[in-house]
Symmetry: D2
Subunit: 321 residues, 4 copies
Amino acid sequence: MSTQPNHQHHLLAQWVSQYRAATKEGQCANYIPALAKKDPNQLAVAIVGTEGHEIKAGDTEELFTLQSVSKVITFILACMDRGLPYVLERVDVEPTGDTFNSIIRLESHQPGKPFNPMINAGAITVSSMLAGHSPQEKVTKILQFLEQIIGKQLSINEEVFQSEWQTANRNRALAYYLMDSGFLDCPVEAALEVYLKQCAIEVNVSDLAMIGLVIANDGYHPLLKKQLFPKQVAKLAKALMVTCGMYNASGKFAAFIGLPAKSGVSGAILAAVPGHAGLHSPFPTGCGIGIYGPAIDPIGNSVAGVQLLKQLATEWDMTIF
Amino acid sequence: MSTQPNHQHHLLAQWVSQYRAATKEGQCANYIPALAKKDPNQLAVAIVGTEGHEIKAGDTEELFTLQSVSKVITFILACMDRGLPYVLERVDVEPTGDTFNSIIRLESHQPGKPFNPMINAGAITVSSMLAGHSPQEKVTKILQFLEQIIGKQLSINEEVFQSEWQTANRNRALAYYLMDSGFLDCPVEAALEVYLKQCAIEVNVSDLAMIGLVIANDGYHPLLKKQLFPKQVAKLAKALMVTCGMYNASGKFAAFIGLPAKSGVSGAILAAVPGHAGLHSPFPTGCGIGIYGPAIDPIGNSVAGVQLLKQLATEWDMTIF
Amino acid sequence: MSTQPNHQHHLLAQWVSQYRAATKEGQCANYIPALAKKDPNQLAVAIVGTEGHEIKAGDTEELFTLQSVSKVITFILACMDRGLPYVLERVDVEPTGDTFNSIIRLESHQPGKPFNPMINAGAITVSSMLAGHSPQEKVTKILQFLEQIIGKQLSINEEVFQSEWQTANRNRALAYYLMDSGFLDCPVEAALEVYLKQCAIEVNVSDLAMIGLVIANDGYHPLLKKQLFPKQVAKLAKALMVTCGMYNASGKFAAFIGLPAKSGVSGAILAAVPGHAGLHSPFPTGCGIGIYGPAIDPIGNSVAGVQLLKQLATEWDMTIF
Amino acid sequence: MSTQPNHQHHLLAQWVSQYRAATKEGQCANYIPALAKKDPNQLAVAIVGTEGHEIKAGDTEELFTLQSVSKVITFILACMDRGLPYVLERVDVEPTGDTFNSIIRLESHQPGKPFNPMINAGAITVSSMLAGHSPQEKVTKILQFLEQIIGKQLSINEEVFQSEWQTANRNRALAYYLMDSGFLDCPVEAALEVYLKQCAIEVNVSDLAMIGLVIANDGYHPLLKKQLFPKQVAKLAKALMVTCGMYNASGKFAAFIGLPAKSGVSGAILAAVPGHAGLHSPFPTGCGIGIYGPAIDPIGNSVAGVQLLKQLATEWDMTIF
């Protein structure tokens, strides 16, 4: 709290510069051609507080796709559209320790209900539940929800969407398996279209930070002064981010960083710091954090991004534990 | 905070009385003869704050064994004895979604390192690492550590220990598998003796609450005014309690209750409420909670205990999220 | 051998009558609407020897679809079209003990090569390898091959094909998974069309018996006096029928009946009795057996069919062991 | 048949000399110190026919331990001691495709019944069932049974037994798991003592061949002119050897060699050629084959032994298919 904004900004820039070296330890997601082309050396961070004050550093203008970060958003939307009991009947909220695209538990744990909404199987199920009679209607709902939060219209990166759509065989396998088990609420191709389009929504780190801020504030948008989604859903989303948000490194992330966060293979990380978790930080009433670093580790998390976030959390004493 | 201590005490007694009905939905652990004899209708809770004030209700004099709650304690001790890197080389900190006694991942995920210290495989590994040249030395260390926290000497329920020792075939299978993979630091029978003796340590709910208080306070004992274990270890313990503490219902517990907690098949639950998670509660500087309700669900958690804890967390707005 | 043909025929009729009672222990496959409509009380058997002599009993005029029995035929064809090394590079020949539609091993045993051609994953892979630039060309090849063996043109039951095509979600999941792992030789929908059309080819028990005869004779058609496929491929097909032919009851079938056989969920069973396995039977130079009994057990095998085949094998001392 | 005995003997010597080169592709089992010391270049074969005529070549005087080959013998004995229904209630006869020491299916397929007697879990269960009130009594029964077959007393290699006993952690894990599930008929340590002693019984290739001969002849000893065990048990043993006898290469062995066989990590292979499977061979009334080649592949089968057996089977047209 004693840290001056300028000083914070300076620190942030210094850390970005320091952790940019770590980008060399990872590489851009290579199974999606459009992601493989990104510059692996990039790193960016933005933090926005409850009064709208933002600090940022690095490649903050860079646009990137949400990928798995979108899973948090559609989970919140599905809870609003269908109510919590309906959603929880179709997707559990237990962590697994499995890779994001694993299909084994759908068969090994009958009745094949996906274990949580943060792995692909659960996320596709969630996307199928969104209100709307067509993929387009569902996607429009997602974009409108994000526009409410961020205050500007986002768009879908068509090249990324097409690239993923062409290579979505594993996700198709998951979706057909879910359809066979009765867990999809709309046809397979429609669910996949929604899921892959939500993954291809383009943002920058400031946009991510703003989403994180509203989640941190239990669904209340501190600038709009408006409750956008129920507190209970926000708490649940944060719990899921902690137990399952960082793929099968979620346990280690909770252990060593201790913040609700969700990563994507684009190198995006969204973190939500509730006020009480940031009491002794420069953001004592909470903040949202957006990070981008496209060089990812084999598990799918931004290498430099995770290290930068650990630095922030440690130095500024931000933790929910 | 506006709630008067007397009023809180009254409320607590009322809730215990209300949730005692839920004990009928579970039953005492029947695979351990000594546990099967317990009175399934019992329910007790104790809460202790940073200034030593305690409120409690129900069968608070009842003694019960720690069972899996002891896993948190030995994990903390192992980290103190061996250092974090040594411990983490032998046991991971990832949640699994598997049952507590599952053996599958030891084979399916090479090199067979146990996924976390809260499942039996991980806990046995941790017990094998404790300082001490004999099981007795290791157990003595555990008892001394607990005496420091609680302020009185605890003892081992010999009947429970003998009962579990005789029926420990599944745990022996886990231990021999771990030995084969090179993850045990002492002979199988020694590791099992430590593990089963720590499980048979007898406490009441006030004792549990005091352990929870020190963990809540990051290892600092607010009454002794002494740091008993490093803050980093305490944070890690709380993260593990959130991601893996309630067996394969940990995800749901985090989602709907949102507190670091660890359960045992004796019906014990230990919860640690950090100050920031209880800011708007009657314990604004944090507290420890001990619960006992021996009627457990098929997953291993006290049925009435979980419901009572949910009531407390909800009514008093205690959550880390 | 001493048994007179008339006597054999009489015995066969008597056994069919006796084992028809066992049809009550099973039920028609209910996940395929067109199969669910079949009369569960039906039972039929035909046996054809190397000199073309046939004995048969029961509902021998009934037409039914090949279903999984077709997997043997396409495996033989793929070996002829591509050569054994090519085929074995894409599908292994190991039994699994898993259900026919299991997907787990594709993920748990890298590189995800299907374990054998008798489970769906392996059979779809095999169908994708058949010569032909379109599904129609591949299917035509299968029908021509069968026409050569049986001496008449078979046709595809369009209703069954459409029924399975509409409900093929689990098979689609398998196929997309295989495509993702690089094991399919043609597009998913093409491979599925071939696979589901081969499953829908209609035969009667005499047709099945004739196919069995040629396999029994190592690919040599004793009536046409012509080698239709290589001896090595026939031996391999018989080995696969023994180790994997009766779904996850193959081990028990080998143990208690001891003949190369392949079943389908339509209630079809194809058995091939090499000469040496029938030395002391009424067919001392070998025979083919076709059985039909649409009431199947939970594993997928005709309940009465298996019992009838066991009676035949035991009474007539037919076994490869 | 036209082949003269001398010529056969000459051929055999030539093949042994030829395939000895293949020993370089494997290595001696290194997890058992006493096996690791064996000479990896050794190779030996013996074949004995129904009239007692034997041909052999290579290191035929070398003694080696039965290891997993003993599983066939104890399975036959258990069936004699307890009756088939009793045995089959405790161990299934389905192949798995898993490694010999896998524990996963005991948990993943409830009720945890071992899948077949040829994997360690099943074999330990079988050993626990043998008649006898002590390990020594059970082992004595095994040795007496073998003495009846071979005509001489065999002994246990104490060094190998001790070596395996010290390092049997994985087998202990299996045994304790089985005990926990209720599948063991005697205490864990007793079952393991029997199992590891039977594995350490010492034979040479002629001994193995004689065991194979009796199994080939459906339990009838052609020299003693005596039925040593029931025909049905012999058929079942041969079926198990075909579906599960060569570890998780059993499918390929059946496909390309096509004889009932059982291997051990000592490099032993026992094969049983029923008369009808050798009709066109130099042993038209059947034979037993014993092979020894201690350099094994990663799956556990003698590298040169399998190739030599393939040569024999192919050249002499021996196959059950």
